[in-house]
Each structure stands twice: as structure tokens, then as C-alpha cells.
């Protein structure tokens, strides 16, 4: 399977054809976007088999909902990534209702990911570099930045972030809220 990168306009065309039930277009859309989307799911659910289930659910969902995709309002990758992230977060949260701790969740897959790829803060910084908002991000206090990255890329809940950074949950909630407000302003400066 190739991991071709298609321009946003091409993806929009593919999605328009998918909305009409075009299976060839759907396959091309999958080939072009599945690796990126699988990467996002894998970061959140941490296990390949569960990430593949998330990917399957997301693409079946995209197939059904393609007719409702509004090209004028959203980029195709934004639309698809939102579907994948939502599904991955649902999967993570429902599995976590059994109250397994972060440590229990981090199996061998997670360890492999941690070893070979940039950590969550690294990903946030890389994203900021790409978007040219690095200065704005660096102005956010370090602990807030770390909390933001842990939540966004690994799907950690308030209590898990608190356990991870060794701070009271109340402080983490405040950091996240303030951090998110600042991040919002950084991202809005792009528009």
C-alpha cells in the first residue's frame, strides 16, 4: 500500500465521489490518509489492534457521513482527523472506565512508541514550528505546555495528567484551562 500524499483539493474531490458511493475513490482516500490517521489513533489508544479498530470505525463512519461533508467549511484532513480523534477518545475513555491506571495501559506497544518517536511535548513543538506559532507556544508556561501535550496527543484525563506530572488535580485543571486559552489565541493568530 502506498502512502501517497494528496493535496487538499484532491482529497475534496475524492470525498465528493465517496459521497456518491464510489468505492475506488474511497480506496484512494484510504491509501492517502490512513497512515496519518492511524498514527493519530495509535498515539491515543496505544495498542495496534485497538488503533486498527478505531481506524475501521472511523472509515466506516466517513463512508456513511461523506454526503454531509461540507467542503467550504472544513479541510478534508481536519474532518477525517476529527472523526478519528473522537472515536479514539471514546474508545480510550470507555476502556478506562474499568479504572486501569496509566501504567497498566502502557503495554509493550506504548513502550515501543515512546522509545522511537518524539514525546508529546516534542510533537506539540513540531506542530508549532510547522504552523509558525512557536514563539507564541514558547510564551506558554512550561507546566501548562506539558499538560496540553499530554492531553492532546495521548488522551490523558485530568487525573492521569496529575499523576503523570506529580501535581494536584486542581492545579492541573487550572493549567489546562489557562493553557488552552493561550493556545486558542496562538492558533487564532493564524487565521
Amino acid at each position: 500500500m502506498s502512502s501517497i500524499t494528496l493535496a487538499s483539493a484532491d482529497l475534496k474531490q475524492l470525498l465528493a465521489r465517496v459521497a456518491l458511493g464510489d468505492r475506488t475513490a474511497f480506496r484512494r482516500l484510504y491509501d492517502a490518509t490512513a497512515p496519518s490517521l492511524f498514527g493519530v489513533a495509535l498515539r491515543i489508544v496505544r495498542q495496534r489492534d485497538r488503533a486498527e479498530e478505531v481506524l475501521q470505525d472511523a472509515f466506516v463512519n466517513a463512508w456513511k457521513r461523506a454526503a454531509g461533508y461540507q467542503a467550504a467549511l472544513s479541510q478534508p484532513m481536519t474532518w477525517l482527523t476529527a472523526i478519528v480523534r473522537n472515536r479514539a477518545l471514546d474508545e480510550l475513555r470507555s476502556a478506562r472506565q474499568s479504572a486501569d491506571s496509566l501504567d497498566e495501559r502502557e503495554g509493550e506497544d506504548a513502550a515501543a512508541i515512546e522509545d522511537t518517536q518524539p514525546g508529546p511535548l516534542g510533537l506539540l513543538e513540531q506542530a508549532a514550528d510547522k504552523l509558525a506559532i512557536r514563539d507564541c507556544l514558547d510564551a506558554i508556561e512550561g507546566s501548562q505546555r506539558q499538560c496540553l501535550a499530554l492531553v492532546y496527543y495521548h488522551g490523558l484525563s485530568h487525573s492521569e495528567v496529575a499523576a503523570h506530572v506529580g501535581s494536584p488535580i486542581g492545579s492541573v485543571k487550572v493549567w489546562l484551562r489557562r493553557g488552552l486559552d493561550k493556545l486558542k489565541r496562538c492558533l487564532e493568530s493564524l487565521a
Binding site: 480506496r27 497512515p35 496519518s36 475501521q56 470505525d57 466506516v60 472544513s74 477518545l89 471514546d90 492531553v151
Partner: protein
């Protein structure tokens, strides 16, 4: 909570998209999004803002089985299922299918004999209620208003109105299913008082197995599949009674 406040919706949408909500709050906010366009819009705004951050995540190649599973599912050949573990299992599948079919048919008659025996008799004999989906819808003041129930493998939805609902003349009370994912879909029309029933397009198991919430809106006419619901006047949980 007053969801008309834009700043509250913005805060909730941020937490939803960012991912800090727990399972219970997520599911509640998903139900709110289905009924409240302003909530859906707030979520879309945050998705637009935050998604570029996800693009720094390194790609990873899913297995070839993932695409095969997606194709099977959009063809309706099976529901969510992991890829076959090996080629011999794939080869064996048709035979397993037949064997499972025979066992399942026998099992279903034993487990769900409601098709041939009146439900009351089964309840009397077993002392338990049959496997069913049950919804209890409440109004804004949390008063129970609609009791909706349907046996697991049946198509009839029985409705008992626990309070009278005054629908404006010429309007109908439309019952909707609010699935965990995707848009709300219409189930049927409920009476304003007393008891009633309607036949659904498929079995409860097919329609309701991933539907945590039900809602009622006031519509000009019975809603068709794909229609957008008017604001909900009653909502409630839909649970499995087994």
C-alpha cells in the same frame, strides 16, 4: 445547566475536542450536540483550531487486514470485528458460519421464545423480564413522561405515556434514537396520552444496540429517515434490560 450561554458551550466544546472529558460527560455532551446546533458549531470551531496540531504525529502503516475489514463492514457483511488471525481461519470461516447458524438458531429459540409463547407466560415461568430495550424519557423538570419498550429481537415499539403531552394542533410527537455516533434517526410517532405502539423498520437489536439516548421532538409530520430533528422536548436513557 443553561446551554444557551455561548461561553459555556465554547468551554465544553474545547474540553470535548481537546479530550479531557470522562466517558460519562463525553457521552452527555455528544447527546447535546445532536440536539443543539450551537453546540455542534462550537465543537466544529474547536476542531478547526486544534486539528493542525495532530499533523505533527508521525504516520504509521495499518495492517492490510484493516482495509479488508472496512470493505466487509460497508458491504454490510459483518459488524465490527478484528481481522482474521490467519489464512486457515479465513478458509474455515464459511464452515464455521454454517455451524454457528445452526447452533444460534437452536439457541435463539431457547433464549428468545417470545415469537411462539406469550411474553407474560415466559415472565411467569422464569420470574424475569424478557431481554428488551427500554427507554424512559423525562421533561425539563425531570418528570417521567414516556416509557418506550421493545423486545430485543422484535420490531414493535410499545409506548406508554406516563403524562399527557399537549402537542399543538396538526403536529406530531416524534420519537428519535440518538446513537453513540452519527446523526439522530426517527423511530416512530408517540401518542399524546395513553398507550400506543408502532412497527420499526428493523429489530430493536439492529436499531438500538448502540443507542444510549432517546428523544422526542414536535414535528409537522412524521419524520423520514435522514431528516433533522426539531428541538427535543423530552429526552432520556435507552438501556438494555438483560
Amino acid at each position: 445547566m443553561n446551554y444557551d450561554r455561548p461561553e459555556l458551550l465554547d468551554r465544553l466544546a474545547a474540553e470535548y475536542v481537546f479530550g479531557t472529558m470522562n466517558a460519562r460527560v463525553r457521552s452527555r455532551f455528544q447527546a447535546i450536540q445532536r440536539g443543539l446546533p450551537a453546540a455542534r458549531q462550537a465543537v466544529e470551531d474547536w476542531e478547526q483550531r486544534l486539528t493542525p496540531l495532530a499533523h505533527s504525529v508521525p504516520p504509521a502503516q495499518p495492517s492490510a487486514a484493516a482495509w479488508a475489514a472496512i470493505e466487509r463492514r460497508i458491504d454490510g457483511r459483518e459488524s465490527r470485528q478484528a481481522a482474521p488471525a490467519s489464512a486457515w481461519l479465513a478458509w474455515l470461516r464459511p464452515f464455521l458460519g454454517v455451524a454457528f447458524g445452526v447452533v444460534a438458531t437452536l439457541g435463539l429459540v431457547r433464549l428468545y421464545p417470545t415469537a411462539v409463547v406469550p411474553v407474560d407466560d415466559i415472565v411467569q415461568e422464569r420470574g424475569t423480564l424478557p431481554a428488551s430495550y427500554v427507554g424512559l424519557l423525562t421533561d425539563a423538570a425531570n418528570n417521567p413522561v414516556v416509557l418506550a419498550s421493545s423486545t430485543r429481537h422484535g420490531r414493535i415499539m410499545s409506548i406508554k405515556m406516563l403524562r399527557k403531552v399537549e402537542a399543538p394542533a396538526g403536529k406530531v410527537l416524534q420519537l428519535w434514537a440518538l446513537p453513540k455516533e452519527g446523526a439522530a434517526f426517527p423511530l416512530g410517532v408517540v401518542p399524546s396520552e395513553g398507550k400506543g405502539s408502532f412497527t420499526m423498520p428493523d429489530t430493536s437489536e439492529k436499531l438500538l444496540s448502540s443507542v444510549p439516548r432517546l428523544a422526542v421532538s414536535i414535528e409537522d409530520a412524521p419524520a423520514r429517515a435522514g431528516a433533522m430533528p426539531a428541538p427535543y422536548v423530552l429526552t432520556g436513557n435507552c438501556v438494555k434490560l438483560w
